[in-house]
C-alpha cells in the first residue's frame, strides 16, 4: 500500500510547526507511531470513492 512507503517524520515535524504544536523529543517516536496508525486507518476512507453530491450536513440527522 502506498501510504506505507511514506516517511511521515518530515510531515509531522513541519505540520507541528505550522500548527504551533511543540513536540517534546521524548514523545516524538510515540507521535510518529500513532500518526502511522492513523494514516493506515485513513487509507480505508481515502480509497473509497464518494460522489461529489455527498456533502457534510451542517446538522447531522441520523
Amino acid at each position: 500500500m502506498e501510504h506505507e512507503a511514506i516517511d511521515y517524520r518530515a510531515y509531522i515535524d513541519q505540520a507541528a510547526t505550522v500548527v504551533g504544536l511543540p513536540l517534546p523529543a521524548d514523545y516524538h517516536q510515540g507521535v510518529v507511531e500513532n500518526f502511522e496508525r492513523i494514516a493506515a486507518i485513513a487509507q480505508l476512507i481515502l480509497e473509497f470513492p464518494l460522489d461529489e453530491a455527498i456533502e457534510i450536513a451542517p446538522v447531522f440527522e441520523p
Binding site: Y11, I12, A15, A16, V19, G20, L21, P22, L23, P24, Y27, G30, V31, V32, E33, N34, F35, I38, I41, A42, L44, I45, L46, F48, L50, D51, I54, E55, I56, A57, V59, F60, E61, P62
Partner: protein, 464 residues
Amino acid sequence: MPELYPDATGIAQSVRNREVTAKAVVAAALARIAEYNPMLNCFTTVLADQAIQDAEAIDQAIATGHDPGPLAGVPFGVKDLFDIAGVTTLAGSKINAARSPAPQDATLIQRLKQAGAILVGAQLMDEYAYGFVTENSHYGPCHNPHDLARMTGGSSGGSAASVAAGLVPLSLGSDTNGSIRVPAALCGIFGLKPTFGRLSRARTYPFVASLDHLGPFTRSVRDSALAFDLLQGPDPADPACTQRPPQPCLPELTKGIEGLRIAIADDYFATNAAPEVLTAVEQIGQALGTTKRVTIPEAKRARAAAFIITASEGSNLHLEDLRRSPQDFDTATRDRFLAGALIPTTWYLQAQRFRAWYRDRVREIFQHVDIILAPTVPCPAPAIGQTILTLDGVETLLRPNLGLFTQPLSFIGLPIMNVPIQRPGELPIGVQIIAAPYQEALALRVAAYLESQHLVAAPVPTLT
C-alpha cells in the same frame, strides 16, 4: 422480604408509599459506597452531605403532601464529565483539576433531580473519555465487580461498575464510540445509548462534538425506559439537541416483540469475536424467533472514519493544553492526541462525507428491518493491564479493539441498548439491540421481552 438490590423504579415506589424514607435509602447507598469504593475505585467524588440534605427535602415534600417525583429518593451517580454545581469537572484529567468548580448542574442532572432522584457523586472515566478500559494513569484503574482483577471497560467504567455493584441503581455516562455500551457489556448491566441529538449534552465536558451521546446505565429495562423518558426534551443550550417533543418509551414496554422485523448482523459483526460472544448473539436471535441475516455495508470503513473524526476533533479540543502541558496528559493517550492534531483536513472531511454515505445505506436497511442484533464487545472483560487481544488467532491492540462492534454504529447515531447476558460461573457479555434513529422504544421493547424471558438480567454479584 424486600429485594436486597431494588431497581430505581422499586426504590421510588417504596419511598412514595412511605415504606422507607429517602434519607434511609441514600444513607444506605452512601454506606455501601464507603465500604466498596476502595476496592472498586468507581467514584471520584462523593457528595454525602448534599445527598442527605436533598433526601431530607424529598421526605419533607412527601410529608407535606407534595408529589416527590417518579424517581423519589433514587440515588444516582454521573460520569465525572457532567457538570455538578460546586464541583470541578475533571473528565478524568489532572489538567482540569485546576479549573473552577462548575456553576450549575448539567441539564440531564437537573432533569433527574426534578424527578426526585438524589445525586450522590461523580464517577471515574478514561481521561477525556479517550479509551475503552477505564485504566486512568492519574486516578488508577476501575475494577469490575464480577472479578476485581478484570477491567470494567470504558470510558464510562466508574458509572457502569457502580451500578453493577449495586452501589447505585442508576448512573449517567457518555458514549462517543462505545463508552456506554462497552462497560455495560463487560460489567453485565443495561446501557442505553440513545439517538445522536436525542438527549441534551449541555454542561458536560465534550470529547468529539460530532459523535458525543449521553445515556443511562441501569439494572432493569423499566429503569432504562423511565430514566430515558425523564431525560428527553429539547434544550437550546445544546445546538445538536433535537427539537422533537419527548416520546415516552415506558408505556411501550409491554407491547412485546409481535410484528417486529428482527435480523442478526453478519459479515463484519460475525467475525473477530470470541466463540461465546457469537453464540450469545445467536441465542438472543433464537429467543426472538429470527434467523434472518442482514449485512451492514462497509462497517470497517465506518469504524475507520469514526476513528479519524475522533482523533481530529478530540485533539483540536485539547490543542491549547497539548501545546502548554503535554506532560500532564494520561500517558496512554497523550501521543495519540498529539498525532491527531496533525491530521490533514482532507482526511477529516472525507471521513465526515463518508458518514453521510454510510448513514444513507443503513437507512435503507431499516426500510426492511426494525431491529438488528450484534455483539457489543469481542470478548468478556480482560484483565486489568492487559494490552493484547487475540481475535480469530490474530494478536491486536486491546485498547482500540474493545470498541470494534460499537464504533461503526454510534458513528451514525443509531439508538442502541446493551443487554447483559449472565453466564453462571463466567463473566457476563453483552449484545447490542440496534434500532433506527428515534426508535429507542423498539430497542427497549425487545430488551423488555428478553428480560421477561429471563435471558438478560443484571444481578449484583457478591463482592469479595
